[in-house]
């Protein structure tokens, strides 16, 4: 990580960039936050470890409006989001210098806590330079050990690969973390009866508190004003007054990001109620792949998205292939 910090300081010093968009150390060992570092001194608080799951690409919408060039750190999966934002003219390529950083799988503190670990004061073993096998969690109730894999975010188990799709330079090594198929869960749900499906999603969605965290964190939800905040459409919603509104919100959100979602998994990561929101997006990704051919949003910044494209022989609605 020191290599990374040195390089960032170098780029700040030679004027290539005027600020760094990275992660700032937290105070509990697992809670770093996205941060704009404006000087080399500030970088003393910089961190890049297993808990830096947050996808920084969306912050570049803001970053693109700032004076001068911003250095942004992108993990392999974040580069897809960045490309997609670039395609939609939401970020400006010439306002950014991209260091693609390696990734050994990102951690989910909820998964650690779900193992009954409470009162955490620090976590060791999450360093990017380390081997990333085991975490040592210090708590007020004693020390606990957790296998790194068991604490990894769901998305890292079905990682799209550790290749950066856009960058100016690359730093730090990655480890392959993929050990599952990302459509398994979608398949399982597709196999349920309509009653079971309804029951499953009703239960999950009933937890939704309409906090909009999923939307606001989503790099594809980059609208200046969301339809659900706007009165233009008579579609404004603020609370889950009725179960329908939760379904409506999540269907429409999934639909709006269909063909644009890079499956970065941020929606599920941030949901305070642990709703597996990525399942909606994955469903669409799976359908699009099956119906219209393999398509990975954000693989590049040019290809037309599947919903703004067509072929003469597309599947009819309701037909299955």
């Amino acid at each position: 990580m020191q290599r990374l910090i040195d390089r960032m300081k170098e780029l700040l010093a030679d004027g290539t960039v005027v600020r760094v968009l990275g992660w700032k150390k937290g105070d509990l060992g697992y809670n770093p936050e996205p941060h704009f570092f404006n000087s080399a001194e500030e970088l003393d608080d910089f961190i890049y470890d297993g808990f830096c799951g947050a996808n920084l690409s969306k912050y570049m919408i803001k970053g693109s409006n700032l004076e001068g060039k911003t250095l942004i750190l992108l993990k392999p999966c974040d580069t897809y989001s960045f490309n997609q934002l670039l395609k939609e003219h939401r970020v400006l390529r010439d306002k950014v210098y991209i260091i693609g950083v390696g990734c050994k799988g990102k951690l989910d503190i909820e998964k650690i806590k779900a193992q009954g670990i409470k009162g955490i004061t620090s976590v060791k073993g999450a360093e990017i330079s380390g081997k990333c096998d085991e975490l040592t969690v210090e708590t007020v109730y004693g020390e606990k050990k957790v296998a790194y894999k068991d604490a990894m975010l769901e998305r890292c188990h079905v990682c799209k690969g550790k290749e950066h799709k856009i960058y100016d330079e690359l730093l730090l090594d990655s480890t392959d973390t993929c050990d599952g198929d990302r459509f398994t869960d979608v398949d399982i749900i597709e196999g349920l009866t309509p009653e079971e499906k309804f029951e499953y999603f009703r239960k999950e969605l009933s937890k939704c508190i309409r906090c909009n965290a999923c939307r606001n964190v989503c790099p594809a939800c980059s609208c200046r004003k969301c339809v659900f905040d706007s009165n233009k459409f008579d579609s404004e919603q603020k609370a889950n007054v009725d179960p329908f509104e939760e379904s409506m919100f999540h269907i429409i959100r999934a639909f709006h990001v269909a063909g644009r979602c890079t499956d970065c998994g941020e929606c599920s990561r941030v949901c305070p109620q642990g709703i597996p929101l990525h399942l909606f997006n994955r469903k669409f990704i799976k359908d699009i792949n099956e119906y219209y051919g393999e398509y990975i949003a954000g693989e590049d910044a040019e290809t037309k998205g599947p919903l703004t494209d067509y072929t003469l022989v597309d599947l009819e609605p309701g037909e299955r292939r």
């Binding site: 004061t121 603020k238 007054v241 109620q273 642990g274």
Partner: protein, 343 residues
Amino acid sequence: MKKFLKSELTALLNAISEKERVYLPVSNAGQTNYDIYNENSKVDLDTLKTVKSAKEVFFPQSETLYTVTKVDKKIKITQEELEKEEFVLFGVRGCDVKGIEVLDKVFLSEPVDSFYKARREHGVIVSFACNEPEESCFCKAFGIDCAEPEGDVTIYDCGEYYFWNAKTEKGEALTEKLASFLSDADEAPVKEKQQEIRKITGLLPYMNISLDSWHGEATSEKFDSPVWADIYKPCIGCGTCTFICPTCQCYDLKDYETKNGIQRYRCWDSCMYSDFTMMAHGNNRTSQMQRFRQRFMHKLVYFPANNDGMYSCVGCGRCVDKCPASTNIIKVIKAFEKEEGVK
């Protein structure tokens, strides 16, 4: 002091719920939130913090206030009925009990909110001492003792027994109703447990955070600080912190046209939202920095200024746990500490 066997809990809950609604932490699809008890409920008193706080029992996320119907071309208004049945709110932690006290300041002072008032009058609060406080907890900073929470009744979890301590008239009345389950008990195990809890409390990183510089008179000094411009940046403008907060009380009024008239309802709103307090001329606060500042200024400065020094934060730490960008009130306080320390 009374006590009952932990194994008797279900029977006790069944007994209450025969006559009255019981709200308590229930696990649903992997998350624990307050819900109405029934025999199939997966009661979860072990999870320290429900995702949403207990405030929604008195101040639901959305509720209809009145309905407007049209009879020919005339308009008729029907007010929604107020709460008139007794209910029990069971298993509330100390911070959430305090949160209700904060809400009382808002809704029970003039003009009184009749919907809230009716619910408060009909609800009995059974609180729960925290055996295992967590790293994000900082109730102590607000003078809350999680080993000895307020409430009509307080329950302490000690070994195979729940100890039961009625503290108010309402609590006594409930105790009487449940007399068959409760036996007299010695305070000693409770005291012992409380010692244990307080020891842990001392070890937790946030519990002793200082609020000295935060008070009703700090308005201009804090408002104009350059710190805000830096610390707000990670904020993504979602409403997670507000909606899980036990004290946030802002709401919006909206209309919904149903087949049988137009319902006017209120629903929680978040000062973090870009369309909060949207008016014809636009928004009061035009940047996320201003919105971010508003939330913490309100919790730690404006509210105490108007409520005899009472903060509208109770240190439950939910926002610390749940913020998507890992920014929170603790980070704000610490940032100011650093800035002011530098000065």
